[in-house]
Amino acid sequence: MAEKPPPKPVSPRDWESLTEDFRHGGARREKWSCLYPSLAELALSSILKKEFPFKIPLVIFLDEFSHLLFPSNSISSLLDRLIEDLRTTVQSPIDGAHVNYALKEQMMVSTTSILISTNSVETVEVRCTAALVELLLAVINRPNHGPDRHARAIACECLRELEKAYPCLLSGIAGHLWSLCQSERTHASQSYILLLTTVIYSIVSRKLSISILNAAVPLIPFNFPQWILGPEKEGSGIGIGLNYKELRRAMAFLLEWPRVLTPCGMMVFMRMIMPLAVALDLQPSMLKVQFFGMINSFHPVLCHVVLIMYSQFSEAFNEKEKEIVRRLLFVSLEMQQYLVFRLLSVHWLMGFLNRFMEHGVEMEKKSIIKMGFMFYPHLFDPLSLKAIKLDLLAFCSICMDALKAQSGSDMIVGEGKSVVKLFQDGLISVSAFKWLPHWSTETTVAFRTLHKLLIGSPHSEADPSATNKLMESAFYSHLKGMLIDMILEFQRLVPVIVAFVDRLLGCQKHHWLGERLLQTMDENLHPRVVIDYRIVSYFLIFDRIAENQTIPPRKLLGLLTKFMAFLVEKHGPDTCGKSWSHGTKVLGICRTMLTHHQSSRLFLGISRLLAFTCLYFPDLEVRDHARSYLRMLICVPGLKLRGMLNLGEQLLGVSPSSHSESFFSMQSPQQYQDPKKSRNISLYIHLERMIPLLVKQSWSLSLLPLGIGNKSKSFGGIRDSEASIDERELDASIPLRITSGDERVDKPWVPLYVMDSKVSEILEVLRRHFSCIPDFRHMAGIRIKIPCNLRFDSESFNHVRGGESPKSRLHGVEALPALYATVLKFSSPAPYGSIQSCHIPFLLGQPPMSDYIHDETASLDIDATYVGSGEEEAYKAPVAIEFEPREPTPGLVDVFIETYVEDGQIICGKLQSIKVGIEDLFLKAITPPDIPEDALPDYYLDVFNALWDACSSTSNTGREAFILKGGKGAAAINGTRSVKLLDIPADALVHATEHYLAPFIVSVTGEHLVDMVKYGGIVRDIVWKEEAFGLLLDANTSASELNRMPLQLTFTENEDERGSELAIGKRSMGCIDILIFLPPMFHILLQMQVSDVSTLVQIRTDHWPCLAYIDEYLEALFLT
């Protein structure tokens, strides 16, 4: 690791920093790794140096890091060296300065430790360990010798560790050890006793048949026993069994001396004696007599020893339970004791009682458990102790409850005390919880106890009887009453109570309990809460109630509505901030409800609340939010709504991944845009006309606008519909036919024409008519609406977006993808002016075809989708393309979409363009407002007649300019005529006309035809003329007659046409007059001369370019 190996340590200071590095670990230790074997060598030689003050720490260092410092490749030589060092140290005389007992003892300890932890018996040869044992035995073999008594004790400990590491290592010399143990009388005797005990323990646990009285084997030299090295370590050396008699004698000897042991020594001793007693069939009562008194000691370790003894020999310690319980309680009372032991003693007691409840004598249980009630917390007990004592009380009451379950009495504990009383008593010791702030420790402890008492017993949802029992218990009813009272009285406690409920809710076992509590609160709180500003402190609870699906939200909504009303009422200059803050909080709860409940369940209440807020709340932001919630509530289906409102928390049943980005917390969405995925969006997002066009051409004839600049009146030509024109260019060249009309005003007057009364009447009608037409240059023009549907395919959407298939987890509506906050922007090369964009808050994807079998959708082409069922409608968003045509011409509207998908990504791109047909532009003529309803048909007829006349090529009105609405612009009529022969039977024509042109019919003439149309019932409120007059005339004549044209000549284009006209005339049934207004200010007049087998349509218009479309339209209408 290190680039350069560090210098070898020499001075004590070097060694000290080295030691620090090793302890610290990581890189600091790593840098020494290259020196590992030589480090140990260096250390070992330093230990023997005379003048070296850092010897003991160095030895400890070797000990602690032997696994690093004694690598396996050089371990053998290093250990030899170590043993040699030890021998030198132990045998050198004490000189007070460089060799002292401390060093000798540490050397013994560390050498032993190193040999054990490097597992030298297996890794090296046994000789090292044997040499060590021999050395140590030499040390201990001088009982009662004065000065080195402590070193002997340490040597015994070393031997004991070796024996523990290699059981039965010393069993061969057990006899010697026993006699040494007998003779030793200094304070080191503890170590001798423990050593002997350990040797006996391993003999017994290995079932070694060996005589421990036999001292025939010499102590020194030490022979490494074969059973440690042998292949089957367990079996070898085993005879027929244990030498019980000798072992019992040894036990008797050992049990004589417990009083010389320190408490720690006693612990070690007892841990071995107990299994020995079992193995050797000793009377446990003997142990009881000998050791039970230790429970009265204030040394915690001794108490614990007794407890362990009890758990091993509980039968023998029968009837001692009371004393044990009493003692443990007393330990907890001892003020002089360290707190942790007081806490531990209560824990021991609970563990003890727990076991006693399981295994104890049935008769005794009650009286033992009762003792637990003796210990109420004391005033000056630390809170942790109070808490744990309260735990104990709860524990006992629960045990009592379990014991009394058979007898049926309701939770009567102690001396007739109920749990309720117990609990009330208990709470007094932390009584301050009521008025201290909710974060105070007292409060936490109090609620913790409440929790323990409530849930302590293992009630489970699997067992409904337990549930019911708890619900009916006095404690529960007390508890809920108490909680409600507390909420009302001490509002500061609300957060704690909420935390309490949360904790119950958070546990799968007690979830129902939390819900019950919330239900109770919902039931009891609302009637008692006073509506004022302080209600805010309950909002935390309301939030939980709102979250909970088991609680009907009606009550809470009612309360919140009242509160909103209160806020509105109290609003004033001082309370602005308050209104905002409280209003926002209320909306927050509404949001919680919307996220957690079925919308249908909430709808009524919450929409009322939101609507009220929208309308009356003083704060703008709150109003705004309320409005958006309301909007979403109405537009977005439940689950998606919940997903959108979710602010990141996980909802039940909603996968978090798809909703991790919430609708509101979207940040810089642009970066999510994926152009690849947006490219083909027209494949799966469709904007479709609701009413399909009749003319299904894939191209559109579009006229280049008549430019002002060149004033050329030529056709622009026919262009492919895909050809796009720069929008700006279009804007600049808005076809202002109207200006040409104006220009005409300025033109030199053409020769005057005669104007008779009829003409002036016509002019009158026309002036009136045009004065109603808005002039789009100066005011809002006439708008055309094209209803469309936006929909998208879930399947291809998911496919294209490459998202995970949501169906894997969800189903039905929930599985479908959705688009959020969609904006549709429109533009058109046609002279439609600027088209307003359209906003769709939410749209659900259309389920795959297979998911819902629907005949219409099977051929989901362009046509007939409008008749789709309601279910289908859920996947469509109605969109209206609204524009103000500058010129009545069909065209294409290009659609651009920008929308968000659930993961916050933006999709944007172009959709299929929407075709605008000429029929979209058909409007009824605008009527002046002063025309009464019943006079309308006549008015329409008048207008029709006037226009019919004006549009005739011989019209006298040609030079007249009609002032438009607003008075700034004027229009002139420049009429054109055309005819069209339709080879269809009369009834087919009437049917098609009724279907498509009914609104525009102004009159029907001819008895037969009138009958036909009138009784169809579709065409109403028009002028019916039953007189047969003129019907036998030819078309031109009749037309002129009808228009009351003063002077006209028959004008025919060619002979063929004329011939056919004559052919029809014979069976003529009547005429249908149709007046169509084409925004911005043009007209189409149709006069259909109906006969049995064909119909001649006379067409007149003041906008000649539209004739081409009309022709096509009529063909599509009638001939296909």
Partner: protein, 646 residues
């Protein structure tokens, strides 16, 4: 041999969270690893397997884990009980106050990966140091704990299959680890005082003057430098010094960690990680003095391990009954006053050889002793109702022979009331009316008596008022009234003292500590909304002020009995000598020593005040339902065995 009190490692951290001392015990560690291996082999695919940390962390890893826990748990000790901030898998998730003492760390190490649970660590905070002891337990216990602190349900529920209580009952090594932690703590801070034994040289003479001049505390006879010889070493010179007084060496609290002392203590007390003897004084006298060939062991007895040296010199036996009186004085009808005595008998037996001492305790029945517990060297007495005989084989030096809890057999030495009423937000009128030593007869002497009114959260501007007796002084945050100053003890009569006055405070300032910023952010905002509302509704100044002040009240540690800052009270401190208040006593004449030896027996008593609180009668005060133990056990009769089988 699992289950003995072995220790795998220990660390001492300073207040900068850096490890200043660490010690690992490879032999124990080897056993632990073997156990881990066994466990892994036996328990196939246990999900908790990975969470057990099978090796020992280095110092840096431990220090990192310590800091991490501190951040996670809010403080070094932690929340202790489950609070909203508790995280699953952390100690406070277990919801038991003992997790403030027995802690678990998550170790991130390079070798073993992340978040390995290291449990249990006995945490002891002493002075600037945090002592962490890692006892050896079985891997299955660690796993059990890991499950406990990940359990999704409501924490350590009682009667669950797996609970912390049963775990602790099964693990004496944790108990042992705490014993080690306390011993180490005393050493690192140099706080190795022995119990106090008071020598009164002329006990026959009573009265105030005598007890003042005569009683001299020889506290901490071996509190002298750790290296210094304790009382009864073999050297005759030091033995001679016993009669005179050992100088009270000033404690050096701020000294550097004495690593050598620590190392040598560890090598003797637990050479291989298993504690054998944690007596500091014994170990240091052995280290310092060693043994000479003159130290001859007793002939027919084994010398106990806890008594490495035998006393030689003039023989005598000293007892001091030391009682601490705790009281909560309410002066209200609905709450009874409570007085409790916690006492101990300290002893110093300067006796040669290994004698047994026995004596009957008198006054035990009268004084309603509730709890008795004894030094390990004593044979537990037969706890008859009238007579408690106690036998013990005394160790060297001063030791606590027994401890007890009792009720006060006399009336309260300071009786009366304290009233404080806030006349405005910043001014309070108070009145004391106290009776001292009512019904107390000679030789009971009150050496001094002070009354303190603490106002830790308010700054005192001025104080008006004169007491009927004694002197008054005030600091910024408290008022002290010295009723009886030392040197003018009160004996044989009672006095009455009154003290009316007013105290004026600086205007209350909101002191939002960092605690509120960090822990309670968010929750505080809500309150600010209601402030104006509250002002209007608050009826009186007192409540309003309290409301206002409580907003800044920090939560107390679980080691406190309650939030002291929330209350107004006066604390009384005094010292009474002459007899015990519980009525417990030793008759020097009936003390017998076996083998019989002539040794004078001296007895002294002193009573000091613990928490002796006069609650403001006009304010709020904490209380508790008192369940008297004695009454409940009176018919139970506890028969302790009288063991004499050695």
């Amino acid at each position: 041999m699992a289950g003995d009190c072995s220790i795998r490692a220990m660390w001492i951290l300073n207040n900068l969270r850096a490890v200043v001392f660490s010690r690992r015990f490879p032999v124990v560690e080897k056993r632990w690893r073997a156990a881990c291996q066994n466990e892994n082999e036996s328990s196939g695919d246990d999900p908790v397997k990975d969470t057990v940390f099978s090796s020992l962390p280095s110092d840096s890893e431990l220090s990192a884990a310590f800091s991490e826990r501190r951040t996670r748990e809010g403080s070094v000790r932690g929340f202790g009980i489950r609070v909203p901030q508790s995280k699953e898998g952390s100690d406070s998730w277990v919801d038991d106050p003992i997790t403030r003492h027995i802690v678990g760390f998550y170790i991130n190490s390079e070798e073993e990966g992340e978040n390995n649970l290291l449990w249990p660590l006995a945490l002891h905070i002493k002075g600037p140091y945090c002592i962490l002891i890692l006892p050896s337990v079985e891997p299955k216990h660690v796993k059990a704990y890991a499950r406990l602190c990940k359990r999704s349900d409501c924490g350590n529920a009682v009667m669950a299959d797996e609970n912390l209580s049963s775990l602790l009952l099964d693990l004496p090594s944790i108990t042992g680890a705490f014993m080690v932690a306390y011993a180490i703590g005393d050493i690192v801070t140099g706080d190795v005082a022995e119990p106090e034994v008071v020598v009164s040289q002329s006990p026959s003479v009573g009265g105030l003057l005598d007890s003042l001049t005569g009683s001299i505390g020889i506290s901490g006879i071996s509190r002298a430098k750790p290296i210094a010889a304790p009382v009864a070493s073999s050297a005759p010179s030091s033995a001679a010094a016993v009669g005179t007084l050992a100088p009270d060496v000033p404690k050096s609290g701020s000294r550097l960690l004495d690593k050598d002392a620590l190392r040598s203590f560890i090598s003797s007390a637990m050479p291989f990680g298993t504690p054998l003897d944690l007596s500091y004084s014994n170990i240091f006298s052995i280290k310092a003095n060693g043994f000479s060939s003159l130290d001859i062991p007793p002939q027919d007895l084994k010398q106990p391990a806890w008594k490495p040296y035998l006393y030689k010199g003039k023989q005598r036996l000293l007892f001091t009954i030391h009682e601490t009186l705790h009281a909560a004085m309410y002066d209200r009808d609905e709450i009874p006053d409570s007085l409790s005595v916690s006492g101990q008998i300290n002893c110093r037996a300067e006796l040669e050889g290994l004698p047994d001492v026995s004596f009957p305790l008198t006054g035990v029945s009268r004084s309603k002793i509730e709890v008795l517990s004894f030094h390990p060297c004593s044979q537990v007495p037969e706890q008859n109702v009238d007579k408690q005989a106690l036998m013990f084989s005394p160790p060297l030096g001063n030791f606590v022979l027994m401890r007890y809890q009792a009720t006060c057999s006399l009336g309260p030495p300071v009786k009366g009331f304290y009233q404080l009423s806030m006349v405005s937000e910043d001014e309070g009128a108070f009145l004391f009316k106290l009776h001292l030593m009512e019904g107390y007869k000679s030789p009971l002497t009150m050496e001094f008596c002070n009354v303190t009114m603490p106002f830790p959260r308010r700054r005192i501007l001025s104080l008006d008022g004169t007491p009927s007796t004694g002197t008054v002084s005030n600091t910024e945050h408290s008022v002290e009234w010295k009723i009886i100053t030392s040197g003018r003890g009160l004996s044989g009569k009672s006095i009455e003292a009154t003290f009316p006055g007013t105290v004026r405070f600086a205007p209350w300032q909101t002191q939002r500590s960092t605690f509120f910023m960090s822990v309670l952010e968010g929750t505080m905002d809500d309150d600010s909304d209601d402030e104006t509302e509250n002002t209007n509704n608050m009826a009186n100044t007192e409540e309003f002020l309290m409301e206002k002040m409580n907003k800044d009240l920090p939560p107390v540690d679980l080691e406190e009995p309650f939030s002291w800052l929330a209350y107004n009270y006066a604390k009384v401190s005094f010292k009474i000598v002459g007899a015990s208040l519980s009525g417990i006593s030793i008759n020097p004449k009936s003390v017998s020593i076996y083998p019989t030896v002539k040794a004078p027996v001296e007895l002294s008593s002193q009573v000091t005040s613990g928490d002796y609180i006069l609650w403001n009668t006009l304010g709020k005060c904490p209380s508790a339902v008192n369940a008297s133990v004695t009454q409940r056990f009176s018919n139970g009769g506890c028969q302790a065995s009288m063991d004499k089988t050695y």
